[in-house]
């Protein structure tokens, strides 16, 4: 176990060293961003719709601190579910910037997109307490099972079984 821990630590140290050097990770991100920037002229209406409707996702991403960010995934998932029907309307209808702005000017589009995001937030806020309660419940069951096993041992072997051998 000690060896494994040290291996993990080593990997982490190596990753940190690479990050310091500003190596491959940063360069990849720039490449991806450049490709996305190059695609913008060909799908500007989509990007516009996605940008305005996806603001809650961006907000969730920017607002969550810490190493592991899950809020944007949850909020973004529902946000995307709210946008996707309009995206299809745009793609299979008139795929222009005007149409995109027309859609954005409709309250229902934003309502669906932001409403779904709100549900995402509710889901994100509500799930951890439920999971924690469930975990606590299973722990309690485990402890009581162990205690009853100990009781059985005492009944069978007497109180001296509690002493360390």
């Amino acid at each position: 176990m000690a060896k494994k821990v040290s291996a993990v630590k080593q990997a982490q140290a190596q990753a940190a060293a690479k990050a310091k050097k500003g190596g491959g990770g940063g360069a990849n991100k720039i490449v991806v961003l450049m490709i996305l920037a190059a695609l913008i002229p060909f799908s500007l209406p989509t990007v516009t719709l996605l940008f305005f409707c996806g603001l809650p996702t961006l907000g969730a991403w920017a607002g969550e601190k810490g190493k592991h960010k899950y809020a944007w995934l949850c909020v973004g998932g529902l946000n995307f579910a709210g946008i996707i029907p309009y995206l299809f309307d745009l793609w299979f209808g008139v795929h222009t910037l005007d149409e995109a702005f027309n859609m954005l000017s409709e309250a229902s589009v934003l309502l669906w997109a932001y409403g779904a995001s709100a549900i995402g937030w509710v889901l994100y806020m509500g799930t951890p307490p439920i999971v924690k309660s469930w975990l606590a419940f299973t722990n309690d069951r485990r402890v009581s099972a162990l205690k009853s096993a100990q009781k059985r041992l005492i009944e069978e072997w007497g109180p001296e079984v509690t002493k360390k051998g």
Binding site: A81, F88, Y124, T127, I130, V131, L135, E160
Partner: protein
């Protein structure tokens, strides 16, 4: 003691004690209300005995004193023996004796028709002249001694006061009891050789047939003269005279004896045991062959006396005897070198002087306790001055083979045993054995035994200590345990039945069926080495000590019987709690508790032992218990871990919750996309 014995040597005035009779071996009825004072010995009262199978048979019984160890080995050898010079020993054994309310060793003898030849040492009686003495006295007594010698035993009670006429005509003489007391305990000093006479009466030891021949010699003088020739002398004077003038000269004095008797008596009363006549010489004499009389070799007289304790002593033996009697006063003159000087100049024995000088120098220069060194030095010096004398230490004088009976007597009388313990621990007997001039296998054996005794004394637990020494030294001594009450247990096979009998009477339910005496008795009597079990008996853990005891009792029951001992088994079973408790498993305990009463009913200690000391079952219990302990600890650790890592678990739950939410969000997005695609495309 010897004086007391002499005083008692006359017929004892016994008080008739009314009461029920004692019964020996369901056959001999001993009438406690019919004492026979004329047949009593100084330490055993005589009573009328009847044989239920032959009521006409004339018998009498001697009741031994409980505080004196009788000679059980000699009883075994003499039972039923019909020798011309011996009153027949018909039966012996321990018997419940109503007047004392306890078990007493009882010896049944054929009752002499005639009287005792001499009732007291001061009495005059009808003498036997030189023509009859050979036929009437010497021949039967010599036959008796021969018979005893063939059986490897000695009589040690040959004296005129222990001779009985076995017929009305006064033709047939026989020797009376010799087993009711320790060897030679009842012997007045006059019948004992110089060496044996120096020893305490209880510690004279069995000796050799040579001692019996000496006593025979003295008896012949008494019988020939019809009186005690030294009746006017006290014991101290008599011993002094024997040392100074020799036994023959002291006892015969100016008496005129026939030449044939002179030769015989000079041979039998020779003070040098190596020169003293033996059975063959006596046989030759009886067959008519005459030898020139042995000349007494008297010890060289010193040119000047050694002043000690207000008197002057002219020979070493006499001086050694005086010093042994005045232990404290003897040490200073020796340490000051006066004895060495006297030996060198007055006795002109330079070798002996040099040895004394060496011994004194060692005592003065040696490290350790000065007092103890001085005592041992004196002991060595006494051995040098008189090598044939008994072991002498601080007033206690004992022949090596008499040490056991002395210890038995002291312990039975609850006397002070410190001196005897000191003798064993300081290896005083070894000094005596080292002073022997010639090698004797018996001495080597005894020396080894004393070494073992020291080992036993150095262990203080049950089964060892002084009690062990007592039973090792007295192989026929009954077990003295108060637990056995008045039961007379001489052999190991009698122990378990005796314990079985007393089981119902025990008052303390927690009392183990063993004590120091019983443990020591078992240790000494068991043929196999049970010292390891005896060590286990002293284990502070009650379960281990009980198992060790059960082990021994089980072996004895298996080997010696009896098959059923319900009382003792119940006793052991009642104490089995700690052994059952030593099993960890409650189920196993219940099983054992259920099984025990069944075995108790069968009375088998062997089965109890096998049940409680089943090694396989014990190992299984031990292993399973260890496993259960490990299980318990593992559960304990896990509970602790679950309860102590709450913060960590909280964080983990939170993260898992957020992850789950993210996954659900993505899944909803994917499902929605799929539905939308399906709706738009189709």
């Amino acid at each position: 003691m010897a004086e007391a014995a002499e005083a008692n040597d006359g017929v004892k005035e016994s008080v008739a004690v009314a009461g029920p009779p004692g019964v020996l071996r369901d056959r001999y009825t001993i009438r406690s209300n019919q004492p026979i004072p004329e047949l009593s010995t100084p330490n055993a009262e005589a009573f009328v005995a009847e044989d239920k199978r032959d009521t006409n048979r004339q018998l009498y019984a001697l009741i031994c004193r409980p505080e004196l160890p009788p000679r059980v080995n000699v009883m075994r050898a003499l039972k039923g023996l019909q020798a011309p010079g011996l009153v027949q020993l018909v039966e012996w054994g321990a018997m419940n004796w109503p007047p004392l309310g306890r078990q007493c060793m009882t010896v049944v003898y054929e009752r002499p028709v005639g009287k005792r030849m001499m009732t007291s040492l001061r009495q005059e009686f009808r003498r036997i002249d030189e023509y009859d003495i050979g036929r009437k006295v010497i021949e039967p007594l010599m036959a008796a001694i021969k018979e005893l010698t063939n059986r490897g035993i000695t009589h040690r009670a040959i004296r005129a006061t222990n001779l009985f006429y076995m017929d009305d005509a006064g033709e047939r003489l026989a020797l009376g009891d010799c087993v009711s007391t320790p060897p030679a305990f009842d012997q007045p000093l006059v019948f004992e050789s110089v060496e044996a006479g120096m020893a305490n009466p209880v510690a004279r030891g069995s000796g050799t047939y040579s001692d019996d021949l000496y006593a025979l010699g003295v008896t012949i003088i008494f019988v020939y003269l019809g009186r005690n020739p030294v009746a006017h002398m006290d014991e101290e004077t008599l011993l002094k005279m024997k040392i100074q003038q020799g036994s023959y000269a002291t006892l015969v004095g100016d008496e005129r004896l026939p030449l044939a008797l002179v030769e015989l008596l000079r041979g039998l009363l020779c003070d040098d045991p190596d020169q003293r006549w033996n059975i063959e010489a006596l046989d030759l004499w009886l067959s008519g062959r005459r030898l020139s009389p042995l000349q007494q070799r008297v010890e060289k007289r010193a040119a000047r006396g050694f002043p000690f304790n207000g008197k002057e002593y002219f020979n070493c033996r006499e001086l050694a005897q005086a010093m042994a009697r005045n232990w404290e006063a003897a040490i200073p003159p020796i340490l000051e070198g006066k004895l060495e000087l006297w030996l060198r100049r007055a006795v002109e024995d330079k070798d002996r002087a040099q040895v004394v000088s060496d011994v004194v120098r060692m005592a003065l220069t040696g490290s350790g306790d000065k007092r103890s060194a001085s005592d041992l030095m004196l002991c060595k010096v006494l051995n040098i001055l008189d090598p044939t004398a008994p072991i002498r230490y601080k007033g206690f004088n004992a022949m090596p083979d008499g040490f056991g009976s002395a210890l038995a007597a002291v312990m039975a009388q609850k006397g002070d045993t410190r001196l005897l313990v000191e003798i064993i621990l300081r290896e005083v007997p070894r000094l005596w054995f080292e002073a022997r001039h010639s090698y004797l296998p018996d001495n080597s054996l005894m020396e080894g035994n004393f070494r073992e005794l020291k080992g036993y004394l150095s262990q203080t637990g049950m089964g060892f200590g002084l009690e062990r020494c007592l039973y090792e030294l007295n192989d026929a001594l009954p077990c003295q345990s108060p637990l056995l009450g008045e039961d007379y247990v001489v052999e190991l096979k009698e122990l378990l039945p005796a314990l079985n009998a007393v089981a119902a009477k025990r008052s303390d339910p927690k009392q183990l069926p063993v004590d120091r005496h019983i443990a020591a008795f078992m240790g000494a009597r068991a043929r196999s080495d049970i010292d390891r079990n005896l060590t286990g008996l002293n284990d502070p853990e009650p379960s281990k000590s009980l198992v060790a005891l059960l082990n021994m009792y089980a072996v004895f029951q298996y080997r010696l019987g009896p098959e059923s001992l319900p009382g003792l088994t119940a006793w052991c079973g009642a104490l089995a709690g700690p052994v059952v408790g030593a099993f960890h498993s409650r189920d196993r305990r219940k099983e054992l508790e259920k099984e025990l009463p069944k075995i108790i009913r069968r009375g088998s200690i062997v089965e109890i032992y096998n049940l409680l000391e089943n090694q396989e079952s014990r190992d299984k219990d031990h292993n399973e218990f260890a496993w259960a302990q490990a299980q318990y600890q593992a559960a304990e650790d896990e509970i602790r871990r679950v309860q102590t890592d709450m913060d960590e678990r909280h964080d983990e739950g939170d993260r898992a919750g957020r992850q789950a939410a993210a996954v659900i969000g993505i899944l909803i997005a994917m499902i929605t996309t799929t539905i939308v695609v399906i709706l738009k495309v189709w």
